[in-house]
């Protein structure tokens, strides 16, 4: 009885400790929101308590020994000389081995369980790790021919999934030389490097390795937004290579797929129409072209080098540029267009010396892309 109370006390103290400074706890591994993260937590927690028990025993014993056998003031005593004890040695070799053997059983079983590919019915998404943002391509039959041009639904930085359904991710490192200049500016190259895809509340990490395709299977139990970020050091802006997973209810998901499959609206007016023209045509004075890198479904812009902007202003597309800023933050978007590197040092999008009017027009156009 008393023991139970003690455990409960310990657990609640730990909980408080962890919660105290994590009001949002939006990236906590101990607050799982799906079966994959849950199974990983279920393995961690008991092992954590075993470790706590060992910690208390060992450190407690050291403390007791230190106090009990300390030299008292003014005493010159020689202790009995003991050289060892083979039985004890065997004991404290075998005891930890047994504990570890027990712990390894569920560990090995979970390794294999998590490595299994999901059954039919899972949503397939290809994840592309870039410097420093994420691209998501939906490759299932009902989504891979969209925009009226046979392109798969492609979004950046926000992975939208249906809640309650298994999702099977294929992780690929991507990149390539982009930007103006000949030879290309090495600092502006989008290098293919290792990243790691991680949403603590939904699933542990898998690295995104050039030349390999790794997989993650996960599901989100409830509709909601879960934050994640790149976990493997990938260069200058590793810290700002974040993303969100948005889980939608079935009806919202169906509506999202409908919206995303459609090409971008062409019936834009006023400032937005001006922005569309700026976007699709070369900038004056040889400053470059947006369509060299960006794609917008339903237009001639079709490059995959930079984020696909077809439904840039969809309500689910809440953040941009490795979730460096909120899509709805007009001022942040303007600052980005003015000089991406001033916002995010090392960003691969060059400064096109856009005038304030050009920026306003482009923002109006981007905000029309719902």
């Amino acid at each position: 009885m008393r023991k139970k109370a003690l455990w409960a006390l310990g657990a609640s103290i730990l909980g408080l400790l962890l919660a105290a400074c994590a009001p949002n706890a939006s990236q906590s591994t101990l607050d799982p929101a799906g079966p994959t993260a849950q199974s990983e937590k279920n393995l961690f927690v008991p092992v954590f308590w075993i470790a706590v028990a060992v910690f208390v025993l060992v450190e407690g014993a050291i403390l007791v020994i230190a106090i009990k056998y300390r030299q008292r003031k003014g005493r010159e005593r020689m202790p009995k000389q003991t050289h060892g004890n083979t039985r004890l040695e065997i004991g404290w070799t075998i005891a930890p081995a047994l504990v570890l053997a027990v712990v390894m059983v569920p560990t090995v079983s979970l390794i294999w369980q998590l490595a299994k590919a999901p059954g039919p019915g899972a949503l397939n998404v290809t994840v592309q790790g870039r410097q420093w943002w994420w691209g998501f391509q939906y490759t299932d039959p009902d989504m891979k021919e969209s925009y009226g041009s046979g392109e798969p639904i492609t979004v950046a930085d926000v992975l939208v999934v249906p809640a309650g359904r298994q999702v099977y991710l294929s992780l690929e490192a991507a990149g390539g030389l982009i930007g103006p200049g000949d030879p290309p500016d090495p600092a502006k190259a989008d290098y293919v490097v290792i990243h790691s895809f991680w949403t603590p509340q939904l699933f542990g990490k898998q690295d995104v390795v050039p030349g390999r395709t790794n997989h993650i299977t996960f599901a989100a139990d409830q509709p909601g937004t879960y934050t994640g970020q790149c976990a493997e050091f990938c260069g200058l802006q590793h810290a700002n290579m974040k993303f969100k997973v948005v889980a939608l209810s079935q009806s919202d998901w169906d509506a999202w797929v409908q919206r995303e499959r459609a090409p971008a609206s062409t019936t834009v007016e006023g400032l937005a129409a001006e922005g569309r023209a700026i976007f699709l045509n070369p900038l004056s004075n040889d400053r470059g072209t947006c369509v060299n890198c960006h794609a917008i479904g339903g237009t001639e812009a079709a490059s995959g080098a930079a984020p696909n902007l077809t439904h840039f202003y969809d309500p689910t597309h809440t953040c941009f540029a490795g979730c460096d800023f909120d899509t709805s933050d007009t001022e942040a978007l303007k600052a980005w267009l003015r000089d991406p590197n001033a916002v995010k040092l090392g960003a691969k999008m060059p400064n096109y010396a856009l005038s304030d009017h050009e920026i306003d027009a482009l923002v109006a156009y981007l905000q029309s892309l719902t």
Partner: protein, 630 residues
């Protein structure tokens, strides 16, 4: 034949560029010395300077992360600082500091007059110093290394700044220093032991020294290959790590960690050795289970080569590899536990004198236990998918390497300071330092467990306020400055102590057990007037005490009644002992390597010049007899 050699050397002395140095005191003597004790001190001082540098880098990191969206460093500067922090602490502080301890103490502990190859010893020291300076020079030549101490390809290949080329070249150079030193010390331990010093009469510190040198000899070639591949990729466009051209970025990681994990034991085993000497002395009991402590150290060394992929559980090696390396990682916890239990059993029933060396030793054990336990939570692979590359790992590595290695090294400094400098560090300041350090240490790294579990990734120069990570980050930053205060106390302590006159009331201040305490403080250049003859483990203790067979209590040996050979020998003053003479050549030769390295960066001519310096150095060295003509 002998005459030929002599005439050659005389010619060399007359006609050569460099006159044979003979000074054993004065500043020049430090540059030409081949005395393992002087070299050991230089290793220690240099490593400590790098420790301070690495510590300042740590303070910059913690200042930047003290608040969300920190503005003290930008992304570029932060990446350089955290990379140099890791490189410095591992390659330029803990490794050479341990090398300093080994250099100074191994010959004394086995009853030798010097290491096996004294001039090679000088070479490895100077190569290490110049390699470290070479690495740091990158900061002035286009940017310090910025790809992490782990230098993962292809990011380390594609980065457009020159930093990672310096990293590859610099670590190749310091690796040469370590390899040379390791061969030297291994040969010393195997070949130079005093009569009667059988392997199983060697102090545990010497055993750990042997294991560490063997680990280095077998693991350094692996990272050297890796660094050369990186260098080729960066400098000459080879494609070893370029997946699109048939290379493999994971190759880097395999080779790196196949070195990197044994390296962890290279860093921690010296500290284990140190506290295995100190705990018995201050418990006034022999080490409990000596053979088990030794064999567990050897076991750790062996198994340490079989766990590397636990750094790579998220790479996607597949369930077979992850299972295998999860199991080996769990297995390596067992011999580590054996050591901890034996230290506890040594203290149990002892008469514990809480002087500074014991305090730091207990600090090592208690903090390492925490690091070891969090290590077990990495062995359970799926849980590691969540923890890897987060601050949870940052916490773990620091509990192991700061809590374990650094506390152990401080234990050693306080313990052997009187031996080396014939002065005793202030116990009072030392204890203040200990308590401040252990509080600061836990304030800094304890919260990082929570930060990691709450989703803070490592190596990020900034974090948003929205993640709720601010509070614990602030605690950690305060802790870092508390640690800095404790290090400052140590520096004050050291400076104050060294400004006092030399001389100890008691040349055996701790009532020690091992051979190094049988000679003067500091030891004469020749170490021992008479090479000691060893009759038992803890030979010195057995000269002072006899164990009563009935009670198991030690009884002091009556003056004059000591076993066969006590202080009966007349001090010879070292006149009859021939020790290697000082030499310029190791220093000269060591300059060749960094010159060649700059050449690889800037000009083939410089490579040629460096090679020439190296050759001239080795030629002069080869032509110079090890003992100068009198």
């Amino acid at each position: 034949m002998k005459g030929d050699m002599a005439s050659l050397s005389v010619q060399g002395a007359r006609g050569g560029i460099l006159r044979r140095p003979s000074a054993t005191t004065g500043w020049l003597s430090w540059f030409t010395t081949v005395d393992h004790k002087k070299i050991g001190i230089m290793y220690g001082v240099t490593a400590f300077v790098f420790f301070v540098l690495g510590g300042l880098e740590a303070l910059l990191i913690r200042s930047q992360l003290a608040q969300p969206d920190g503005k003290i460093l930008n992304a570029d500067q932060y990446n350089q600082v955290f990379t140099m922090h890791g490189v410095t602490m591992i390659f330029l502080f803990v490794m050479p500091m341990s090398a300093g301890f080994f250099n100074y103490l191994l010959p004394l502990m086995i009853g030798a007059r010097d290491v096996a190859f004294p001039r090679l010893n000088a070479l490895s020291f100077w190569v290490f110093v110049l390699g470290g300076l070479f690495l740091y020079s990158a900061a002035l030549l286009g940017g310090a290394p910025n790809g992490g101490w782990f230098g993962y390809a292809p990011n380390s290949v594609t980065d457009p700044t020159p930093g990672m080329t310096f990293y590859a070249l610099g670590l190749i150079i310091t690796g040469i220093a370590s390899t040379v030193g390791a061969v030297n010390l291994a040969v010393t331990i195997i070949n130079m032991r005093a009569p009667g010093m059988t392997l199983f009469r060697m102090p545990v510190f010497v055993w750990m020294g042997l294991v560490v040198q063997l680990l280095l000899i077998f693991s350094l070639p692996i990272i050297t290959i890796d660094l050369f591949l990186l260098l080729f990729d960066r400098r000459w466009g080879t494609l070893f790590f370029e997946a699109a051209q048939g290379g493999d970025p994971v190759l880097w990681q395999h080779l790196f960690w196949l070195f990197g994990h044994p390296e962890v034991y290279v860093l921690i085993l010296p500290a284990f050795g140190i506290i295995s000497e100190i705990i018995p002395v201050f418990s006034r009991k022999p080490l409990f289970g000596y053979q088990f402590v030794v064999f567990s150290g050897i076991a750790i060394g062996f198994i340490g080569f079989g766990v590397w992929a636990h750094h790579m559980f998220a790479v996607g090696l597949g369930p077979v590899a992850n299972t295998a390396f999860g199991v080996t990682t769990a297995i390596i916890a067992i011999p580590t536990g054996v050591k901890i239990f034996n230290w506890m059993a040594t203290m149990h029933g002892g008469e514990l004198r809480f002087d500074t060396p014991l305090l730091y030793s207990i600090g090592t054990v208690t903090m390492f236990v925490i690091g070891g336990l969090s290590g077990v939570t990495h062995a359970i692979v799926p849980s590691d998918y969540q923890q890897t590359d987060t601050y949870y790992i940052v916490a773990h590595i620091h509990y192991v390497l700061f809590g374990g290695a650094v506390f152990g090294l401080f234990a050693g400094m306080f313990y052997w300071w009187p031996k080396v400098f014939a002065r005793q560090l202030s116990e009072r300041l030392g204890k203040w330092q200990f308590w401040i350090m252990i509080v600061g240490f836990n304030l800094t790294f304890g919260p990082m467990h929570v930060l990691g579990l709450n989703g803070m990734i490592r190596r990020e120069y900034t974090y948003p306020a929205s993640l709720g990570l601010t509070g614990w980050n602030q605690v950690a930053s305060v802790g870092a400055f508390v640690i800095a205060l404790s290090i400052l106390l140590f520096i004050i302590n050291a400076v104050r102590t060294q400004s006092k006159p030399k001389g100890l009331e008691n040349e055996d201040p701790w009532d020690a057990r091992t051979l190094e305490w049988t000679t003067a403080c500091p030891p004469p250049v020749w170490n021992f007037d008479e090479i000691p003859e060893v009759h038992a483990l803890d030979d010195f203790w057995h000269k002072k005490y006899v164990e009563d067979e009935k009670t198991g209590l030690p009884v002091p040996v009556q003056a004059g009644g000591a076993p066969e050979h006590d202080e009966g020998h007349e001090a010879s003053g070292g006149h009859a002992i021939h020790l290697p003479s000082p030499s310029f050549w190791p220093l000269v030769a060591s300059f060749g390597l960094p010159i060649m390295a700059y050449g690889i960066l800037y000009s083939w001519w410089l490579v040629g010049a460096g090679a020439l310096v190296l050759l001239v150095g080795f030629y002069g060295w080869a032509m110079e007899p090890s003992v100068a003509e009198e």
